[in-house]
């Protein structure tokens, strides 16, 4: 009897020791994994919808709601925002690029609608202005509200990226392959990323045809506009091209790439999507065939160039724009 009790006790001790050893290994492995994902966790806490932060501007508007998981089948709308985030702007940025994107995971169809930065609209603040000022006045919340109200669409999420963030993420992915439509030349391209005087110019030239673009070359391609028959419209088309090229790259990205991508983006990226939602977006983006991407740019007659108070603006023809937008996007509730 005594021997049996001793045997039981020693069995329990062995089990406890075993549990301790297993727990020790688990803690060690989890620590290793957490340390690996530390840069992504930092970005998640600082720049994504893991916590609710407002970005830029001073207006405190309604928080952007983000459901926890991207549905594998339900379509969603993402507002992509890009800013000249160099030292000229001292932390308050205009959006040089606004692309309203609808992703339908079930049909694997994507629609990209570029909203011209000079579009003259009623801003979320109640005053009229160019749509690129919405972000300046009230951050992403204001940009979303302005787009929702003026285009009468519902926006589920947003993602914002700065100049250096775009350069870094493209470099981190090893560059992108693009068929440049024509020679893109600009003798007055802003020399604002070199660390010198941000108001200086530089000459740039992107040669036409299929080629491998580094982050810097891709930025020049999407940002140049002075020697272009279609100015900002052409730039919008080129921005969509780079997004399509990035989509091709997402096929090769795994969860293990998230920390290095997060590190490369640094503070030049903000979104209300969680890390889980972002990583869920990657396989969806990678599975969309090129032929299933619809590209929309609001050229005349949707917009008309005018000078208003000494500045060049694009006056919207809402009677044409809203029906066109309604073809592709879910109406605001």
């Amino acid at each position: 009897m005594r021997r049996r009790r001793a045997s039981l006790r020693s069995g329990r001790q062995r089990a406890a020791r075993g549990s301790f050893v297993v727990a020790g290994f688990l803690v060690s492995i989890i620590t290793g994994v957490l340390l690996y994902f530390l840069p992504a966790i930092q970005v998640a806490l600082r720049d994504t919808g893991q916590v609710n932060t407002s970005l830029g501007g001073s207006a405190q508007l309604k928080p952007v709601s983000a459901s926890e998981h991207l549905s594998a089948t339900a379509p969603f709308t993402l507002l992509l925002l890009g800013s000249d985030s160099d030292s000229k702007f001292k932390g308050a940025f205009l959006t040089q690029s606004m692309i309203l994107t609808r992703v339908d995971p079930a049909t694997k169809h994507v629609t990209m609608l570029s909203i011209p930065r000079d579009l003259w609209v009623r801003l979320c603040t109640g005053s009229n202005g160019k749509i690129d000022q919405a972000f300046l006045h009230g951050g992403a919340q204001c940009a979303i509200q302005t787009v929702e109200r003026d285009l009468r669409v519902h926006v589920d999420y947003y993602a914002w990226i700065g100049l250096q963030g775009l350069v870094s993420v493209i470099n981190e992915l090893g560059g992108v392959n693009v068929v440049a439509n024509n020679p893109v030349m600009d003798d007055y391209y802003p020399a604002d990323l070199s660390g010198g005087n941000p108001f200086d110019y530089q000459r740039i030239l992107v040669l036409p045809g299929a080629q491998h673009m580094s982050g810097t070359l891709a930025l020049e391609y999407v940002r140049a506009r002075h020697d272009d028959a279609y100015g900002d419209f052409a730039r919008s088309q080129r921005q969509q091209q780079i997004l399509i090229a990035l989509r091709a790259k997402t096929k090769h990205i795994s969860l293990a790439d998230i920390p290095s991508l997060a590190t490369s983006l640094g503070s030049d990226f903000q979104t209300d999507m969680s890390i889980g939602q972002l990583s869920g977006l990657l396989p969806i983006a990678g599975s969309v065939p090129l032929a299933s991407i619809t590209q929309v740019v609001l050229l005349p007659p949707y917009t008309i160039s005018q000078y208003l108070g000494g500045q060049a603006v694009l006056m919207p023809d809402w009677s044409l724009i809203r029906p066109e937008v309604a073809k592709y996007f879910t109406a605001a509730s």
């Binding site: 050893v21 020790g24 290994f25 803690v27 060690s28 492995i29 989890i30 620590t31 290793g32 994994v33 340390l35 690996y36 994902f37 992915l173 090893g174 560059g175 392959n177 693009v178 068929v179 439509n181 024509n182 020679p183 893109v184 030349m185 600009d186 003798d187 007055y188 110019y201 530089q202 000459r203 030239l205 040669l207 036409p208 045809g209 299929a210 080629q211 491998h212 002075h226 020697d227 272009d228 028959a229 279609y230 419209f233 052409a234 091209q241 399509i244 090229a245 090769h252 990205i253 795994s254 969860l255 293990a256 790439d257 290095s260 090129l290 740019v297 050229l299 005349p300």
Partner: protein
């Protein structure tokens, strides 16, 4: 005690292994290999010059060597002259110049000085010179340059025009044009202009011409001019969106890249019939192709293509591409090599 220490060490090691295992799973793009560190997959006769990361490499059979060109700037778009020497573009951030160099890479002459900004501090006075092409009789060089252009701060206009100049005489590129040269084309403004000149044996000039459709797009057509003062005749339609022409030494077989305004391209071959173009034949469909060029004999076609999963632009080759039964496309360079796809290879029989 010793067993506990070993156990703790194993636990720490397991954490490290988990951490490093994730790092291994990263799809980090590997840096492209230099073409000189690899062996060509296909051994072709003569010497083929290509550009990679700002250097010029000569591929001769199974050998690859780097030309010992001066450092600074990016050397690109080599063209072989009849004596085997080369014309090469040296591109800097704000301008480019044309150089005549030996097959070893020794500079024989600097043909242009397109950086007046160094002395007058006005960046917009700089010029680009690109896409040099030698006339079939070897007496003239054709090229694209952003001259003439308006004075600085007068306009944003900067577009390529096509010019020719005697190979034997000096010429200078300035704001009003090429002193000592002949202007061939007047660009459609704010489109990029006219590029990639291809002088033909009959004295005509073939090139890529960018045009504003007036409907929100800029497209390219293959244009033909019979002399510097003639009007351009479009040989392809704006819908085809064809560029990068290369004419075989026979003067009539044309290779070109047509995108149909899309994000992939077709490599096509057609025959010039007088001042018109025969029906094009697609030799490579749905590719990321660029910069075709012919062999000295005119029966083999080289081109750049990113056909590998890693997305690297390699040099590809099709035997008898101008015939009715072209060979299969074969990659010449190793798949780890990423060449400058905007720089056509040039093939010397030497």
């Amino acid at each position: 005690m010793r067993r506990i220490a070993i156990l703790i060490a194993l636990m720490v090691a397991s954490g490290l292994v988990a951490n490093r295992a994730l790092a291994v799973l990263q799809s980090h793009p590997t840096a492209a290999a230099l073409v000189s560190s690899t062996s060509p997959q296909v051994r072709l006769p003569g010497t083929i010059y290509v550009s990679q990361e700002g250097a010029i490499y000569a591929i001769s059979g199974s050998e690859v060597r780097r030309l010992a060109l001066p450092s600074g700037g990016d050397w690109t778009q080599p063209r072989v002259l009849a004596d085997g020497s080369l014309l090469v573009v040296r591109r800097f951030d704000a301008y480019s110049d044309l150089y005549h160099v030996s097959t070893a890479g020794r500079v024989l002459s600097r043909m242009t000085s397109d950086d007046p900004a160094t002395s007058n501090q006005t960046l917009q006075l700089d010029h680009w010179v690109l896409w040099p092409a030698i006339s079939p009789d070897g007496t003239a060089v054709f090229f694209a340059t952003d001259a003439p252009k308006p004075a600085p701060k007068q306009s944003y206009e900067v577009d390529f025009s096509l010019w020719s100049a005697p190979l034997s005489a000096a010429f200078t590129i300035g704001g009003s044009g090429v002193n000592g040269g002949t202007r061939w084309s007047v660009p459609d403004l704010y489109t990029g202009g006219d590029i990639e000149p291809m002088p033909l044996p009959n004295g005509s000039l073939l090139y890529s011409s960018y045009a504003n459709t007036g409907k929100g797009t800029v497209v390219t057509v293959i244009g033909l001019q019979t002399n510097p003062n003639s009007a351009m005749r479009a040989l392809t339609t704006p819908q085809q969106d064809c560029g990068a022409p290369s004419v075989a030494p026979d003067g009539v077989t044309l290779a070109m890249v047509c995108t149909n305004s899309g994000q992939t391209a077709n490599l096509e071959v057609a025959t010039l019939e007088g001042n018109a173009l025969g029906t094009p034949r697609v030799v490579v469909a749905n590719c990321l192709c660029n910069a075709p060029s012919w062999s000295p004999t005119g029966d083999n076609l080289l081109y750049m293509n990113a056909a590998d999963t890693n997305g690297n632009f390699g040099l590809w080759y099709i035997a008898h591409a101008g015939g009715t039964h072209p060979g299969a496309a074969r990659r010449v360079t190793d798949s780890s090599v990423d060449l400058d796809a905007t720089s056509a290879a040039t093939w010397s029989s030497r």
